[in-house]
Amino acid sequence: MAIDPETQVEREFETQDLFVNIGPQHPATHGVFRMVIEVDGEVVRDVVPHIGYMHRGGEKLSEHMDYRQAIGYQDRTEYLSQFNAELCYVLAVEKLAGLAPPERAEYIRIILTELNRVSSHFMFLGAFGTDLGVFGTSFTYAFREREHILDLFEEVSGDRLMYAYFRPGGVAWDVPRDFKERVEWVCKQALIGADDMDKLLTDNEIFIARTRNIGKLSIEDAIDYGVTGPMLRASGMKFDLRRDEPYSIYDRFDFDIPVGTNGDCYDRYLVRLAEIRESIRIVRQAVAQMPDEGPILPERMPRMLRPAAGEVYMRCEDPRGEYGLYIVSKGATQPYRCRIRSPSFCNLSALKHMTVGHFVADAVTILGATDIVLCSVDR
């Protein structure tokens, strides 16, 4: 129920709008994000976002490192969808250096990337429920599944969060022997978890009342703001880089692209829930097609990557939208310029457009449904 910001109630006495500072330390901001909202009673009249608290200069730092050393910065930028960011980076470097990864490495990457999308969306489902005031129940349900996936990632890469496992040309080392069975088990658990979340939230009257028609974004506005990913698809635009601009081996899989109709917070939630199932479909196909034996790095891998001078822009479908990397090489062992186009940053730009006219509680809902990663916003 949005209230037109222009509506002025006739008042007998002078009133003054209240400026409330939400953040940088606030449970609803999912990190160190600060928004100053101007409230008239309970209605939000204006939102001013302040970002930059998490700026670490990862882009600049990777210009002083070997191409392979900078992989870790991608993990730290997108700390909920690390494999997605890593994949984008290694694809960009491969394009620049002209490397072709072997078959088996491609499949390992796709399986891990899609499972990472699932874990990232589970994180969203849990945190979104908490934003709406579910007392931790959605959080623990979502984290149960995320934990299974993180266990698998830990076994594969040696770390729970900062994997640094992909390499230009393949992956760092081979996966464990029971990898396929583990992945299958994780897929089964993730589907159970998705159904649990579905039963807990999708048909809940209060959940619907709190999210439906809140923070609406039309397709035109979404495109104007540069919104991508599940938020754009929730508005009804069937745009997914995995299908429209297939990178790696995505053209070999059969999957649907869930789109919403309304463009509100409820649709954003539904699209992410449906994407979990689609990702599991991709993972299962990849597991079936993946060769059991084979190299994981190209035969003649150079000891030092020294791509020829040139530039490359690589974009991948991150759980949050289009994750883009622009890398300029001048023929040295380090990139001359590395620039990240972060989906969270662009999605966040539509915040004011969505929030103004809603209630204070809805501002939290809308920010939660935007699903930002602050490290990615500030880089």
Partner: protein, 389 residues
């Protein structure tokens, strides 16, 4: 010791000494129950959330409440520099004292209270309305915008939900013909008021959740938006007074009221019966406490699974649904009690039918008011499919 108990339970003694001793017993029982309730809630909600809850302090974490209390008592006492000294210091007590005062008239077993008031129910509703002043004081005195927003929200919410609470209680007291809690319980020896008046029970349950600011009505507290609302600046012992004592003592007090007024207290299902002579109070206590804990667990279950409502939805629910139906119930009760005079059975049946019809009507109105498109329409065919495992 036996003599002392005997004095409290039977023999006439000095009225002030008697009241004082009973008060001490209530305070001790309340403190122990509150500690138990905190532990129970953490365990119960933990199980709902697939966690174990506290496990480290003592066997199965049973000493967790004591550890928490010790921690809160030894914490530094922080007051914001710009806070209004007196209002800030007094606000926790203003919220807590009314909750405690409701306990004074509750009969925990037959004929056992600190004071037997003929207007007991009226007194409870009147005194528990004072709590909102504490919320406002805390919100204003903290000099914090979250606290101020929370205080204004709580003022709106608590005052609004006072009305359905009063109407629900009023409808029952019309049926019982008394405002004395002891009389109301004794009158339910065969049929509890829950059967005669299901609608007021539901109204009371909702209103109590709102009065106690428990989920899904924790809008003034709003942990994910207002980070604690009026209590955002409180810490240490003052916060433990608000959190532990007020919240859980209020929960306990209101659930005891619900058990007495609607679930038949110690009377139903056994009636006034002489089982063990002077030690009958044991089974009476067990009945009252188990009924009240049933209500408490219901409220905890509700609060563990539902998202928070928004302030406008909450107010609309109160003023457009609960309040009109509360008034309807009171009017219908008046008509029934005036004109159906044939027999007690006939009166009970008519009361049950009218109130039951009102419950159905209210459910239908809620359905109409909050109706959402069907799952297929709302979710869209592509998104609706559940996964086939």
């Amino acid at each position: 010791m036996a003599l002392l108990l005997w004095g409290i339970f039977g023999v006439d003694m000095n009225v002030w000494l008697d009241a004082f001793l009973r008060l001490q017993i209530v305070v001790i029982v309340m403190t122990v129950t509150v500690m138990g309730l905190i532990y129970i809630e953490r365990k119960f909600v933990g199980r709902i959330q697939m966690r174990l809850g506290p496990m480290r302090t003592g066997p199965y974490g049973t000493l967790q409440s004591i550890a928490d209390a010790l921690k809160l008592l030894t914490k530094e006492d922080i007051r914001p520099a710009t806070a209004d000294f007196w209002l800030f210091e007094l606000a926790p007590y203003v919220t807590f004292v009314p909750v405690f005062m409701t306990l004074l008239v509750l009969p925990f077993m037959e004929g056992w209270f600190v004071r037997d008031l003929q207007l007991g129910l009226f007194y409870i509703v009147a005194i528990s309305g004072v709590t909102v002043i504490g919320y406002l004081m805390a919100g204003w005195a903290s000099d914090n915008k979250y606290a101020l927003l929370g205080a204004v929200r709580s003022a709106a919410q608590l005052i609004s939900y006072e009305l359905p609470l009063v109407l629900g209680v009023l409808a029952v007291s019309m049926v019982a013909g008394s405002l004395n809690l002891n009389d109301i319980v004794i009158q339910q020896d065969t049929v509890p008021n829950l059967v005669l008046q299901p609608l007021p029970f539901l109204i009371l349950l909702t209103a109590v959740l709102a009065e106690l600011s428990r989920r899904p009505f924790d809008i003034p507290i709003g942990e994910s938006e207002l980070v604690g609302g009026p209590w955002v600046e409180y810490s240490g012992i003052r916060w433990s007074i608000i959190f532990a004592l007020t919240e859980y003592a209020g929960l306990w007090a209101f659930s005891i009221i619900g058990a007495l007024v609607f679930l038949g207290g110690w009377e139903w299902p056994f009636g006034t019966r002489d089982f063990w002579g002077d030690f009958d109070f044991v089974y009476q206590l067990v009945l009252v406490f188990s009924k009240s804990f049933l209500l408490i667990l219901t409220m905890m279950w509700i609060s563990a699974t539902f998202p928070r409502l928004r302030i406008d939805q909450l107010m609309a629910f109160c003023w457009k649904i609960l309040l009109p139906f509360g008034f309807l119930q009171v009017i219908i009760n008046g008509i029934v009690l005036t004109y159906v005079e044939d027999s007690e059975t006939a009166r009970d049946i008519v009361l049950f039918l009218t109130s039951g019809a009102l419950v159905v009507a209210m459910a239908y109105v809620i359905y109409l008011a909050t109706r959402q498109p069907s799952r297929e329409e709302r979710v869209g065919a592509a998104l609706a499919a559940r996964s086939a495992q």
